[in-house]
């Protein structure tokens, strides 16, 4: 019962945060809406016994990614009000149709697929501790894990390159 109350509460917070993110005219409010959604998803991970993923969600998304977003918003976005009100109404209507149609299609597709448990007598209790995740991650998935190390290194180098070579004159770039 407590599980149900927690799910309804934080699912509502997640949905309200997501909707306020795409409708807020101020970019900082959008970031705050996304932050609320990410915290709610972290709590839902705890409900699903994925404790380590929940901790990583809070540290990486609510901590690092949102801080980065807010830094860039302070540099770029705040003094430029978005032309949200200037959109053609037909585009908003079509967007609503596409989003609702996509939701319906995903729900239908989900109904068509039968998710079976790993045995007929109920699923074994899953405890997503750091130890359990690490056993799998550093055992079966060692090579993909190492390739994510490469990915992060390349991303860091690329970001530094983008910031460092910004003084190239525009004429040389366009020629």
């Amino acid at each position: 019962m407590a599980e149900t109350i927690i799910f309804i509460l934080f699912a509502a917070v997640a949905l309200v945060g997501a909707v306020s993110m795409i409708t807020a005219s101020n970019t900082v409010y959008s970031a705050m809406g996304l932050l609320a959604t990410m915290f709610s998803i972290a709590i839902l991970y705890v409900v699903l016994d994925a404790h380590f993923v929940a901790a990583v969600q809070v540290i990486v998304y609510a901590g690092a990614v949102m801080t980065l977003f807010l830094f860039v918003i302070m540099m770029v976005g705040v003094d430029k009000p978005d032309a949200y009100g200037a959109q053609l109404p037909i585009q908003r209507f079509m967007t609503a149709v596409v989003a609702l149609g996509l939701f319906g299609a995903i729900a239908l597709a989900g109904r068509a697929v039968w998710i079976t448990g790993s045995d007929a007598f109920g699923t074994p209790a899953l405890n997503g501790t750091a130890e359990a995740v690490a056993d799998e991650l550093f055992g079966t998935w060692m090579v993909p894990f190492l390739s994510t190390v490469m990915l992060l290194t390349i991303a860091a180098v690329g970001t530094i390159a983008l910031a460092y070579f910004r003084d190239t004159p525009l004429e040389e770039v366009s020629e």
């Binding site: 980065l68 699923t123 056993d135």
Partner: protein, 101 residues
């Protein structure tokens, strides 16, 4: 009334659809980028919910990999937005259409 995996999957589908709507309706590059993050989060929720339902830890490992890719993507994407802002002084994608034919 107990929470089943279907509720989580429907919530994830709703969050993904809201993310798609955000990419379609907003013209601010930062908000579009946040919508993409929302879609990645919705997919992560699906992974973890199904992992719980099936009793397999692989779903949580997949969610961690998605988080790593999302972190790399945010770093590079925000660097591109800042670089574009420094040359064009705007983050509105409608005004960044020089390459369209």
């Amino acid at each position: 009334m107990t929470v089943t995996v279907t509720w989580f999957l429907l919530l994830a589908a709703a969050l993904f659809s809201i993310g798609v709507a955000g990419v379609l309706i907003r013209r601010n590059a930062l908000v579009m980028f946040m919508s993409i993050e929302l879609m990645l989060n919705a997919v992560n929720l699906t992974f973890v919910a199904v992992s719980h339902e099936l009793g397999l830890i692989e779903g949580q490992v997949a969610a961690l990999f998605v988080m790593v890719v999302a972190a790399a993507e945010v770093t590079v994407g925000l660097a591109i937005i800042v670089a574009v802002f420094r040359t064009r002084s705007t983050a509105n994608v409608d005004e960044l259409a020089e390459m369209s034919g």
